[in-house]
């Protein structure tokens, strides 16, 4: 029964242009409600009533049907014992009705598709009541009952029709026939041109049919956001179509062919000069370093700091500059501890670490470098690795099997909740002018991946989950007007629609050709969910590389077949992402190139296909870390490395970076890290988009992917148990780390091309620099039994 109903309605949906039945129903209702009028001319022909669009009636019929069906079932179910009906419906129908029609994805899909038509309907937006006759000019308006149509107008307003258009009541003469506008309603179904989106080649630059640009013209602009367009969706036992569908709809964003290209297509310019630059400008185009008087760039700055005393030390280090130098007592960390004396908690130590004053009442200026330890080349180990791989592509391809996700991704955060400095170019929705001139939008805008709605798609690699594939839906890009943030976490109902109407049917379609598989394929998501129950099990299905390629094409085909329901998912693209693979990458012989090592380690990835920029943009993270060498430094002298911020800033300035974020380690003014993106124009040329420098002592407390440290803000304000527990935990972490050494690290994100080039020279260049700067930058400090070193 369900299948029949679904088929019935889907056929109707496709017959948008010839929809006589719905028009009849609308007309009947209008006549019953309002009667009708004859014109007063000699012909006495009737007036055309001002009807709403037929799809609204279809939507209403559907929802009324569902509602009445459900009510009838309930009546039958309650009364069958009493009335002893002679006939009983088939058991499966009773079962379905018992479940409730609104629980079925199939019915929800119909409701969503019907609602989508309303959103796309140009006529609803510029609704014109046109009664076109040849003798229209002679038509007179008899308004005897013409204004008594408040009920219907109320309905129309609820349906989202422009009430201004209705202000003139039934007056036909006051409204010009907007025939030209109406003609944009496509008699040629636009979605039939869509299949070309999956084809490559035969494209000229301007008429590039890479994406379906015309359908974007039919999408309501965002200013209609909160108008409730659907009065029929309320159901006596809940909402059949909830508010999500107003939000998660096609908003008119489209892709261009080169949407993923963040860099110019030629080779990176002077890429070698951009690896940790220092000294003087290396390129005449580059701005001179404001601190170029500083003779050398220390990749290693010094500053030691026992994490356990971090907060107290910082009190003395951030004095405002208005203190005169003569009042200042310059101390190293060791001296401060001596000044405070033992035990802690006494007024003397409080004066030192809380007030920042010495016993002689002078202010203390902390100079960590007084305790520095100088390391020579042999005492510093350099390790070069690839930390992460990001690949943005329209047509992914792999050489190993892929495990496809079949159930929605649940969680509080989307996978790309933080800007990873990878951007794509997205064509903006057509402007008002574009709509009027029926042309595609030509404005494209850079969006970070973290601004585009996305969900998981598959996993691959020998170790499951090592490489994850995510699917992005740019058409649904939206900024939440309440929070001002981009909505990227796709709610469960929308994801369910994606999996049940696109992914699972596509899998069934492509795998049905192989005998012996069908029993293992899920038929629909409702059954899959019942099978799994309430467990949060991750359900995947393995497909071969060939099936995977076919799958992508099939997905696009299925979407194109049902533009009303699934158009929101169109224009999708993929991001393949592997994070935190530096540990894998570091476990290699030093003579092997990290990139080659990664290739051999993960053969399931088509590295050559991925590196080809015509398929997508590949980003690699080059990581360079400096560690105090355990061989040459006695084990009882732990060293902690800190970047010197002034030198870091010099280097970043040389590279033409944006300001980015500066992280002060333990609130120290002069030491810490920095993360910044390359300025856009430069980034296009040099193929580097992001650089990050940080101190590895952060790893003591680092929790990747977790937003709050210690405890969340509310706990800290209340100073409750969570807060004290967090503090205790940190204290324990610091205590257990005080005999460990920590290095510093540098990460550079850029195109695969640029990073592979840099990998060839990285070790040589970094080592050479160390020799050059010998003595000037390798330092360490000993403090309180813990030696904080560094570089």
């Amino acid at each position: 029964m369900l299948r029949m109903v679904r088929k019935h309605f889907l056929i109707y949906i496709k017959q948008t242009e010839v929809d006589v039945e719905c028009w009849m129903a609308l007309f009947c209702q209008d006549v019953f409600d309002n009667g009708w009028m004859y014109s007063k001319d000699i012909n006495g022909h009737p007036h055309c009533p001002n009807l709403s669009c037929t799809h609204s009636m279809r939507e209403r019929i559907f929802h009324t049907d569902v509602q009445i069906t459900q009510q009838s079932y309930e009546f039958w179910s309650k009364s069958k014992a009493r009335f002893q009906y002679s006939m009983t419906p088939p058991p499966h129908v009773v079962e379905d009705m018992k479940t409730g029609l609104s629980k079925f994805q199939k019915f929800r899909s119909i409701g969503i598709a019907l609602q989508s038509i309303t959103f796309r309907c140009q006529a609803c937006r510029h609704r014109v009541a046109t009664a076109v006759r040849l003798d229209a000019t002679q038509l007179d308006v008899s308004n005897e009952n013409g204004n008594d149509n408040n009920d219907l107008d109320g309905d129309i307003a609820l349906l989202g029709h422009n009430s201004d258009d209705d202000a003139g009541g039934r007056s036909l003469l006051n409204q010009k026939p907007h025939l030209p506008r109406r003609r944009i309603l496509p008699e040629i179904p636009l979605h039939e041109t869509e299949p070309s989106t999956t084809e490559e080649g035969s494209i000229d630059s301007d008429g590039d049919p890479f994406d379906d640009y015309e359908s974007a013209l039919r999408v309501f602009p965002d200013d209609d956001e909160d108008r409730s367009r659907n009065m029929w969706t309320f159901h006596h036992d809940g909402l059949l179509v909830d508010r999500n569908w107003n939000i998660w709809r096609d908003r008119g964003y489209r892709l261009e062919r080169d949407f993923y290209k963040m860099f110019d297509s030629q080779e990176p310019v002077n890429i070698n000069d951009y690896l940790l630059p220092y000294f003087k400008p290396i390129d005449s185009n580059m701005p001179p370093s404001p601190a170029s008087s500083i003779p050398s760039l220390p990749a290693h700055s010094s500053a030691p700091q026992p994490p356990s005393s971090a907060s107290s030390l910082s009190e003395g280090s951030n004095l405002p500059p208005l203190i005169e130098t003569k009042d200042v007592n310059r101390m190293g960390a060791r001296e401060m501890l001596d000044e405070a004396g033992l035990p802690d908690g006494k007024p003397d130590s409080q004066a030192v670490f809380v007030k920042g004053k010495s016993r002689s009442q002078d202010f203390i200026e902390l100079d960590l470098e007084k305790d520095e330890t100088i390391l020579n080349d042999h005492q510093v180990e350099i390790s070069i690795d690839i930390d992460s791989v990001i690949w943005v592509t329209y047509k992914p391809q792999f050489s190993g099997s892929v495990y496809l996700h079949l159930l929605p991704l649940l969680g509080d955060k989307p996978p790309f909740s933080i800007n990873n400095h990878v951007y794509i170019n997205i064509l903006q929705p057509p402007t008002k002018l574009d709509r009027e001139e029926m042309q595609r939008s030509h404005t494209s805008k850079r969006y970070p991946l973290s601004a585009v709605p996305h969900t998981h798609f598959g996993e691959m690699g020998r170790e499951s989950g090592q490489f994850n594939t995510y699917i992005f839906f740019p058409r649904m890009i939206r900024k939440n007007p309440d929070t001002g943030r981009m909505s990227t976490l796709i709610p469960k109902p929308v994801q369910e629609l994606w999996f049940s109407e696109v992914v699972i049917p596509a899998l069934n379609r492509i795998l049905v050709n192989y005998p012996g598989i069908s029993e293992y394929l899920p038929t629909d998501m409702d059954s899959l969910r019942r099978k799994i129950g309430d467990s949060r099990q991750v359900k995947t299905l393995a497909v071969t590389p060939i099936s995977f390629s076919t799958l992508i094409t099939t997905l696009r085909g299925i979407i194109n077949d049902q533009p009303d329901l699934l158009g929101r998912f169109s224009s999708f693209f993929f991001v393949v992402d592997a994070r935190g693979i530096k540990l894998l990458c570091k476990q290699r012989d030093r003579s092997i190139n990290p990139y080659q090592w990664l290739r051999s380690l993960i053969p399931d990835i088509s590295w050559d296909y991925m590196s080809d920029r015509s398929h997508g943009e590949l980003y690699l993270d080059l990581g360079i870390s400096y560690h105090p060498s355990p061989r040459d430094i006695p084990r009882d002298i732990p060293l902690v490395g800190l970047w010197r911020l002034d030198r870091i800033h010099d280097s970043y300035d040389l590279m033409g970076m944006q300001k980015g974020t500066i992280h002060h380690t333990a609130m120290l003014r002069d030491y810490g890290g920095r993360q910044a993106e390359t300025k856009v124009n430069r980034s296009r040329l040099v193929h580097l988009n992001f650089r990050s420098s940080y101190n590895l002592c952060f790893e003591v407390v680092r929790r990747p992917g977790i937003g709050s440290y210690l405890c969340n803000d509310q706990d800290a304000i209340k100073m409750n148990d969570n807060f004290t527990k967090g503090c205790r935990d940190w204290k324990g972490l610091f205590a257990s780390s005080q005999f460990l050494s920590f290095g510093v690290r540098e990460e550079l994100r850029g195109s695969g091309l640029a990073i592979v080039k840099l990998l060839d020279i990285a070790h040589d260049k970094v080592s050479t620099r160390n020799q050059t700067d010998k003595g000037s930058s390798l330092k360490s400090i000993r403090l309180s039994g813990t030696t904080l070193s560094v570089f």
Binding site: Y38, P46, C53, T130
Partner: protein, 113 residues
Amino acid sequence: MENILEKLPPDQIYQVLLLQRQDSIPSRPVLFYLPPILPSSYRRLVLFDYHEKKVLIFGHGAQLETNMYADWSEWNGIDYWRAIGEFFGWDLGLEERSPQVIAPNWVRVNVSP
């Protein structure tokens, strides 16, 4: 002519229409759906206005031209007019002239009835 009026006993029709038999029923327009006579013909919505002596036919195919006057003989419209009018006891008005049969040609958004 076969229609619902002949298949159902009059009492039942009155019951369906929520009318009392003894009432004299004032002349009202009657709107009904006429299924396709032949598989190839159109679905129609027909309105009989006995007071104005007018017949309106909607959904008469995509007539984009000026033909506002329609032919109702192909589905024996006059029989329907008679049957319905006599049932309710209304003045058929056939002695003066035949009703004016109009197929309004409204080119509307999304629909060309």
